[in-house]
Amino acid sequence: MKVLSLIPLDDCLGSTHSVRCHLDAAMTEEAMRRLAEGGRLEYFPHFPRPFFRVDHPAHFIAQGVLGNDHFRLTYLKQYKDAVREALQTIFSESEPCQDCRTCS
């Protein structure tokens, strides 16, 4: 599974970055658990669409729905490099995105 792009989301809050992480395939339970390794996973399979939240030690929160090809990342601005590195490790096939305004 690869990260295709990170799209900045305007959430009106000054202190955090929110980006939508787009994947090349739908998020699976296995991918969710890999994303949560070393962190804290909250999983809500009973919702109409199974929702997850991961509080990751690389200083980001990932939230989304299994079956979607995207999820949301929220992090403090000073951790953007750590978040980027963590994503590349977790999604090992990831390639550095070239047109990501958030990382630039």
Partner: protein
């Protein structure tokens, strides 16, 4: 998808609006002074006049947004350096930022008045805050965070009594809560957005002027008339409108305004109020209404909610991704409001109803809030 974000922009647009925009773009261009013989902009001005009890369409200035309208008004007043302005903590950045920029450049002073304990705004606070150096009052008609309505008739009366110009940001209220400017003696400016309750397209806004004509142009340029004049022509609305207008957008806005006038603002507001009261009247545990509106007056259909543990951002995403419900979370471009309400820096989850919403949709929202609240 269920859309509860009408305070940001209306959705879906009425078919009449789409038809008007398409007709404007597919028929030969009609732009006053530039092309054609008809004046669709004047038709839009006439439609807008109907919302304010005004008789002169030249007192309606068309802009690209309410923000630009506020900027033109504030800069056009050319307040002397050192002046004092009174506003409120509930203002949108469309008022806050132009005021801050003006104050920084002109050694100006700004007083931000708070709400009362019950969530209302008291015009008595204005009376107490007026100084000899006060040169402008600038207030929202309805908060885009809590929906609270400011007592605008009292404020207009107070401004007239003190001969103070009054800038009203009616972005959330226009088309829902009438403002009668028919017998105004002091300068009153009402700025509005075209793409919210008036159901026009984005990129349309306006302001209307009552009382003495005192504004200087903020932007200069082509008007299509009086081309030999070295500076901006003096007559309205050209003095305050430079550049090619968004003719197709204003054709759509006119269609939206005519529909609002036909359905009447009172009926449209009553619909929003019913939906909002249904939500706040039986809100699932542990949700809380942020600054409930006094006497349940939710005519603008805006309600802000908070959860004791979950952030508005998280809940908004859950509503969106799990339940297909569109809301708005965060500060809503009104940071002082959240500092005042105790919801800074995370803001609130804002639910804002519109004409397309139903009681069934509110029931679905409440069920979703219940499920999220218990998770």
């Amino acid at each position: 998808m269920i859309y509860f974000n009408h305070a940001a922009t209306s959705f879906p647009r009425p078919p009449a609006v789409l038809t008007a925009i398409q007709a404007s773009l597919t028929q030969p261009p009609q732009e006053p002074g530039r092309s054609g013989w008809e004046d669709p902009l004047m038709e839009c001005r006439r439609a807008l006049m109907g919302l304010f009890g005004l008789e002169d369409p030249l007192r309606v200035v068309l802009t690209a947004s309410a923000t630009l309208a506020c900027n033109q008004i504030l800069r056009g007043l050319e307040l002397p350096p050192g002046s004092h302005v009174i506003t409120s903590c509930m203002e949108h950045n469309s008022i806050l930022r132009p005021l801050a920029a003006w104050a920084d450049q002109n050694q100006g002073e700004i007083t931000y008045l708070p709400l009362e304990e019950d969530g209302s705004f008291s015009s008595g606070r204005i009376r107490a805050a007026v100084r000899d150096s006060t040169r402008l009052l600038a207030f929202t008609h309805a908060s885009n965070v809590t929906g609270v309505l400011f007592p605008m008739e009292e404020i207009i009366h107070l401004a007239a009594e003190r001969s103070l110009p009054l800038l009203i940001d009616a972005s959330q209220s226009v088309g829902l809560v009438p403002l009668d400017l028919g017998a105004i003696s002091s300068p009153v400016f009402v700025a509005g957005a075209g793409h919210k309750a008036l159901q026009g397209p984005p990129g349309t806004g306006f302001f209307v002027m009552a009382g003495p004509d005192v504004l200087k142009p903020w932007i200069a340029g082509g008007t299509g008339v009086h081309s030999l004049d070295r500076t901006q022509p003096p007559m309205l609305p050209y003095r305050l409108e430079a550049g090619t207008p968004n003719t197709s957008g204003f054709a759509g806005l006119r269609a939206g305004v005519l529909q609002v006038l036909e359905q009447t603002p009172q009926v449209l507001a009553a619909h929003r109020c019913t939906l909002a009261q249904t939500l706040v009247g039986d809100l699932p545990t542990p949700w809380r209404v942020v600054s409930p509106n006094p006497e349940g007056d939710y005519r603008t259909g805006v309600v802000s909610l908070s959860h004791p543990e979950k952030s508005p951002s998280e809940v908004g995403l859950m509503l969106q991704e799990i339940f297909g419900i569109e809301t708005r979370w965060g500060l809503h471009c009104a940071p002082l409001a959240h500092q005042h309400l105790g919801t800074f820096p995370q803001g609130t989850l804002r639910i804002s109803f519109g004409e397309s919403n139903t009681l069934e949709q509110v029931a679905i929202l409440k069920d979703a809030l219940f499920q999220i609240g218990m998770s």
